[in-house]
Amino acid sequence: MSDVKDRIAASSKPEEPPTPPAMGLVGWLRWTWRQLTSMKTALVLLFLLALGAVPGSLVPQTPIDPIKVSDFLAAHKTLGPIYDKLGLFDVYKSAWFSAIYLLLFISLIGCVVPRLSVYAKGLRARPPKPPRNLNRLPGYERFEVDGGDGVLEAATRELRKRRFRVQAYDGAVGAERGYLREAGNLLFHFSLILALVGVAWGSLFGYRGSVLVVVGNGFSNTVAQYDDFTPGRAFSGDDDLPPFSLTVKDFQVKFQEDGPQKGAAREFKAQLAYQETPDAPEKSYELQVNHPLKLDGSSVYLLGHGYAPRVTVKDGQGNVAFSGPAPFLPQDSNFSSFGVIKAPDARPMTLGFEGFFLPTAVIGPDGPVSVFPDDLNPELVMTGYYGRPQPETGKPESVYQLDKTKLTQFQQNGDKWRFQLAPGQTVPLPDKAGSITFDGYSRWVKLQVSHTPGTDLALAGILLAILGLMGSLFVHPRRTWVRVRDEDGRTVVEVAGLDRGPERGLGDEIHAITKSLRPAGPSKEEQP
């Protein structure tokens, strides 16, 4: 913004000579401004925008998939850091991408605002006088008549019928049509600004968070309860969150059971009980994909689902060290789900387990795998670790990963210990370290809560822009002139026109106008 101020300051200097030297500050600024708001610059910036958007679709993006980004960084030791410097892992928030669209935005405003006043003047202007040589125009026809009385009146009538604005001149009429084209064009560009403001509004004041809720459990809308939360830049905290809470009562999913798309999800629904505020009455809602729950400007979406095995771990002293559901994350379309179970309070040694929950387990050549996403033959296939009790560090840890740096894997008969359990089964841990019981399993759903203000503004902007676009693209601005003059004692009527739009070509309109003016019967017709 500082250069705008500079510009105002600079241009208000009274002692500036009327024609500034080639490159004074004002001259330079004016030159820059003219360059920035020129059509060529708009073109170049549009290309840059298109080009700049591409890498974001080819390189993994932190806001979309942070895990892929760290994989990429691990795999590309030299390229990774360079990409990182260039902002290629978060293209759409990078400085250079922002620069492109901000410049385009400024150029857009600087381009269309002055055109508004030009257009306002143009609206009041009368259709212009005919140029001297009508026959140089793209559309031109002429014919001779015996005395030109009434031709111009007829021409005026015909042109009005064709919705031209008509102005009489001496021996001629000028006509113009299609003023709405420029109006449409301006509406388009202004509405684009409107839409962009709406989008910016949403990204400043909105928020989005997601949380995984095991069926039977609840969630209340505070930042701390989210697994993952992305506030807009101007979002201020819990005060901005509507105070609703909900409980996931039930979840149903149906999968295709046969045919080539076997295993594809066909339907999923979650039964919710929710309260809009802590004192509001409880209501229920059936949450489905494409049918979000709307609450006070925020919307709750059903994004995904999975399994959470319920497990009880007893330690070497016979005490329960862990009990409850642990959400496992699906790894493939058959919901082979990976997860961990941590029992840091187990004694004398802490315990940890990692492995797979297989909803429909079969033994494949490489060991047990799941062959169907529904729970036809659920099994838990895991391995276990033990270690010295560690002091609480307070550092946040992922619930989906086991930090194995201070743990040792159980061995049995000189091999890594693995176990495979069906629901209800228990297996003792090696070395009398305790036992683990697979009690059963629940399902979990992944919910997303989001609030995006300004959406209506953005939508209205785009719809208006389309309206303007249609006016701009489908209205044909045209000028037409009819002139009657004497040429070597004969009366010649000339009809000429020009298309001011980008389509080129007048179609047969000039011909049709000429035909309507020509007296009936045989006439001496001439084409250029």
Partner: protein, 343 residues
């Protein structure tokens, strides 16, 4: 009829339509080949009456312009050669008409194939790449057949039938997926609106891209004529470069608002319903936006001195490639939320 029967009918109609498109393609190819030999027969100098050669061009204005750019339809041509060209021209016209007729026939079968596919699956026929291919190529046919009358587009027959038969052939051979219902994220009437807008504007992008390619060819030939070279009869049968430029603009001006609606209104509304955000920089979204921006640049280019004509046509072709990459490349190479069930 049961879904299975519909599926069978569809699986019969689509390959049949493909074969007939190929026949139309052959007919148009012969039209071009005849044009070449016609030139060899007729003496190179003869610029036969422009009115005959550009007989299929649209308006008097365009014909007038044609006569200017092909070096005036003066009476220089001898009667004999003019006759030879006349016969050739008739044969060319016949080939062109047969091509168009076959295209209509193929289109009817193609339409039937797409509709029965939809009936077989019990939903709109664009839930995976096979279906999107047969539907998108149908959109190309629709746009071509709409504009073929209005803008006298017969001369585009070769390009259009080539593209459609290539897409259909590829769909049947490489992308075929048996009919089945949709994954839940695809259940929404916004999907219907979003995809049909995208398919129809994609059809128009394709037609506009083909016109632009021919524009470049014709504009080059016209420049050669100005330098004293000659032009083959098949090229002379095309409208003037200027008229083709206008046609490309009209087709793309039809496509642009529709694409704007499809990807910047219907798409985001659907995304908002399905994923809880209206725009998430998903690869498919990015490339749709890039396509949009490129065509906005095209419209700007046409209004900018020094960018009209050749450069604008190049941008239109780039836009078409970007569109195709979005449909093919992004689906196959880049993973994102938009990847279809079972490709």
């Amino acid at each position: 009829m049961s879904p299975e029967t519909y599926a069978q009918v569809s699986n019969l109609l689509i390959p049949t339509a493909t074969v007939i498109y190929v026949l139309a393609l052959i007919s148009h190819a012969m039209e071009w080949a005849l044009g070449r030999t016609a030139v060899a027969k007729a003496a190179v100098e003869q610029e036969a009456d422009a009115e005959v050669l550009v007989g299929s061009a649209a308006s008097p204005a365009e014909v007038g312009a044609a006569s200017v750019s092909t070096g005036s339809g003066s009476g220089a041509a001898g009667p004999s050669t003019s006759g030879a060209e006349g016969v050739a021209s008739e044969r060319l016209d016949a080939a062109s008409r047969i091509g168009l007729l076959l295209t209509w026939l193929a289109f009817v079968l193609h339409l039937g194939g797409v509709v029965t596919r939809g009936l077989a699956a019990g939903r709109v026929p664009w839930g995976n790449m096979y279906e999107f291919s047969i539907t998108a190529s149908l959109a190309v046919a629709i746009v071509y057949l709409i504009f073929v009358q209005k803008y006298k587009l017969q001369w585009l027959g070769l390009g259009v039938t080539f593209v459609i038969s290539a897409v259909l052939g590829l769909a049947s051979l490489a992308l075929y997926t048996p009919a089945g219902p949709l994954v839940p994220a695809l259940h929404s009437y916004w999907l219907v609106i979003h995809v049909s807008a995208a398919a129809i504007s994609g059809g128009a992008f394709t037609v506009g891209g083909l016109v632009s390619v021919l524009y470049l060819v014709k504009a080059r030939a016209e420049r050669k004529v100005l330098e004293g070279g000659s032009m083959s009869a098949s090229l002379r049968r095309l409208p003037t470069a200027e008229a083709m430029d206008g046609t490309a603009y009209k087709v793309l001006a039809f496509a642009f608002p529709l694409w704007t609606f499809g990807v910047l209104v219907a798409g985001p509304i659907w995304a908002e319903h399905a994923w809880g955000r209206y725009w998430g920089w998903d690869p498919k979204e990015v490339w749709s936006l890039v396509t949009w921006v490129v065509y906005a640049a095209y419209l700007h280019a046409r209004a900018t001195a020094g960018w009209r004509g050749r450069r604008a046509a190049t941008i239109a072709i780039v836009g078409w490639f970007v569109f195709i990459f979005n449909f093919v490349g992004v689906n196959l190479l880049v993973s994102g939320l938009h990847s279809y069930a079972g490709v």
